[in-house]
């Protein structure tokens, strides 16, 4: 159900929303002050009750993740915040950093307290210069006030926050690759186990959270975890709260909005996104390019009454509330909750080609199935697009993608293979026609409007 909220975004429209002055005038830093006097267990309990499913893509419950951190011994603990925001189609974390950076700093204080850490590193991709500057300014303002440093809010528990920058590598959004990059190494993912909670940044217990996840720690403490969770239509499925939704691609009104969890793709595309631009809906990639595409004619099949999806049996996948488990049950993923819309004037073969070029370019090269597989996929697609491929090569694509699945150190492999298989299965006819007619069956383009006549800025 469409329920717009103003919790994470409550300051977005205020003047100089990024300054300490505005932040404190609107209730800022009260929860960090409180958290400094709470026990770790109490903080973690609130996060668990909030049912906040990680906003970075995997959807793991934040409170549970925090509870994996060992009791404080002599080893330092670290909090690492993921603001790599590299998943194609995703543009939400940037809005928080630009418009409300203090909420990130406050979230980091709460997070450090909740996991027994004294330092948080916010890993921001290098290109986001404004985001980095806003975060640093916020950190300096908070330090000056004594909210960070040796005794935050007068409590003898040092907390500091730093911004660390990447240098242009999508893979550094993967949490263990991020940790290597933070340590000053090549951003190659690590084998798990050991998990970051045992052996993370600098070999110490570490929690990695997405930037939106950590910013939400503030309203969670303010409202109480359970109240936060209940905002969601999927509270009963332990998928709580409100979050940022984005939509881009072929929609009339692209953007991001904060809504309670439970919004449907149809509401996102038509009510918020202003509907499909230049044609009818061909398909929608629900949460970043690693999540398999959905077609509007796909229906939920859950005839069994015990099935958690039974409620939506027979309905279009566009009418299912967007949740971590609901979309998984639709054969895709919620991912970053930023959707990409394709109109039927765009060619699905070219869309897949565009994305597979991306994955080949971004594979870190560590695992053979991913390095070679992503290259083969791109080369076959090059041939298809050039009108040089045979129909059998579509089966080769299936095979190659299938061989990547489960055979790589990190989830980049699945993130490449799953959307590849999604395109191939759901647009089989379009792919076959394309190969047979050497592309004549296709509109031959991705862009539907000349860039000079759409949306005058």
């Amino acid at each position: 159900m469409l329920k717009q909220t103003k919790i994470l975004t409550k300051r977005y429209d205020l003047d100089e929303s990024w300054t300490l002055q505005t932040y404190e005038k609107t209730g800022g830093y009260k929860q960090a002050r409180r958290a400094m006097r709470m026990t770790r267990e109490d903080i973690v309990a609130e996060m668990k009750a909030a049912n906040l499913r990680g906003r970075g893509g995997a959807g793991f419950p934040m409170g549970v993740k925090w509870s994996f951190m060992p009791p404080k011994g002599d080893k330092p603990h670290y909090l690492a915040i993921n603001a790599d925001e590299g998943e194609p189609g995703t543009f939400k974390d940037r809005t928080i950093m630009e418009k409300d950076p203090h909420s990130v700093v406050e979230g980091c204080i709460i997070g450090c307290r909740g996991i027994g850490a004294n330092a948080a590193y916010i890993y921001v991709r290098d290109e986001l210069h404004l985001s980095k500057a806003r975060l640093w300014d916020a950190i300096h303002e908070a330090r000056k006030k004594g909210y960070l440093g040796a005794k935050p809010f007068g409590v003898d528990y040092p907390v500091d926050v730093f911004v660390h920058t990447g240098a242009g590598a999508y893979i550094c959004g993967e949490e263990t690759s991020l940790l290597n990059s933070l340590e000053g190494r090549r951003g190659e993912p690590r084998l798990k186990p050991p998990f970051p909670a045992q052996y993370g940044a600098f070999g110490m217990p570490t929690t990695v959270n997405n930037l939106e996840s950590i910013a939400a720690a503030v309203p969670i403490l303010e409202m109480g975890g359970d109240n936060f969770s209940q905002l969601s239509d999927l509270h009963h499925m332990r998928d709580g709260g409100s979050r940022l939704f984005g939509v881009s691609g072929h929609v009339n009104n692209p953007g991001t909005w904060e809504c309670a969890v439970g919004l449907t793709l149809r509401e996102l595309i038509y009510d918020l996104g202003g509907g499909v631009k230049g044609g009818e809906l061909l398909g929608v990639i629900p949460g970043g390019s690693s999540t398999p595409i959905l077609r509007p004619d796909e229906k939920v099949h859950a005839p069994n009454e015990d099935d958690p999806m039974h409620k939506w049996h027979g309905q279009s996948v566009l009418d299912v509330p967007m949740g971590v488990d609901t979309l998984r049950n639709c054969g895709t993923m919620l991912g970053t909750c930023c959707a990409t819309v394709l109109s039927d004037q765009a060619c699905p073969v070219l869309a897949m080609h565009n994305l597979m070029r991306f994955y080949r370019h971004e594979s870190c090269g560590q695992c053979t199935p991913c390095r070679e597989g992503s290259g083969w996929i791109e080369r076959i697609l090059d041939r298809i697009v050039a009108g040089e491929a045979e129909i059998e090569e579509l089966d080769r694509l299936h095979e190659i993608a299938g061989n990547i699945m489960g055979n790589t150190i990190c989830a980049f492999g699945e993130g490449t293979a799953m959307p590849a298989l999604g395109f191939l299965k759901k647009f089989r006819k379009e792919f076959e026609d394309f190969v047979r007619t050497k592309g004549k069956s296709s509109t031959g383009r991705l862009t539907i409007a000349a860039s000079s006549d759409h949306r005058a800025a």
Binding site: E127, A346, R455
Partner: protein, 158 residues
Amino acid sequence: MAFSLTPERQETLQDILSRYPNKMAATIPLLHLCQEQNGWVSDEVVDYVATTLELPTAHVFGVVTFYTLFFTHPMGKHHVWVCRTLSCALNGADEILERCKDKLGIDIGETTEDGQVSLHTAECLASCGTAPMMQIDKEYHENLTLDQVDVLLDRLRS
């Protein structure tokens, strides 16, 4: 000639070092700092970073070659990055890129003869809602039209 940071950047380096439990973690921030001064990461820069952080040269070189934003040869004074990933491609990224190539008279990965501008493609820059977009040096330019591209590129070279 050996590379060294300007005194002002030396101070920044001290601040960077204070953020981490060891020196190696300063590798990427220090490389950024050096590249900002030198325009690219030369062998001398690699040696400087290795010596300063007490790391093997091979480590620093491995890091430099992993990340796309470190350049291992001289580049233009300005950098133009055109995003070509899906949301931008759905909104005219190809045309934007073609216009940049025409206007600058160079291909992707090249630098204009006057050494002013290098043209690159970029992967999704988290600006999909305001596609098509490009980044020029540190600035994002969003909801681009071809006319705006002309103006922006003219401004760079005047």
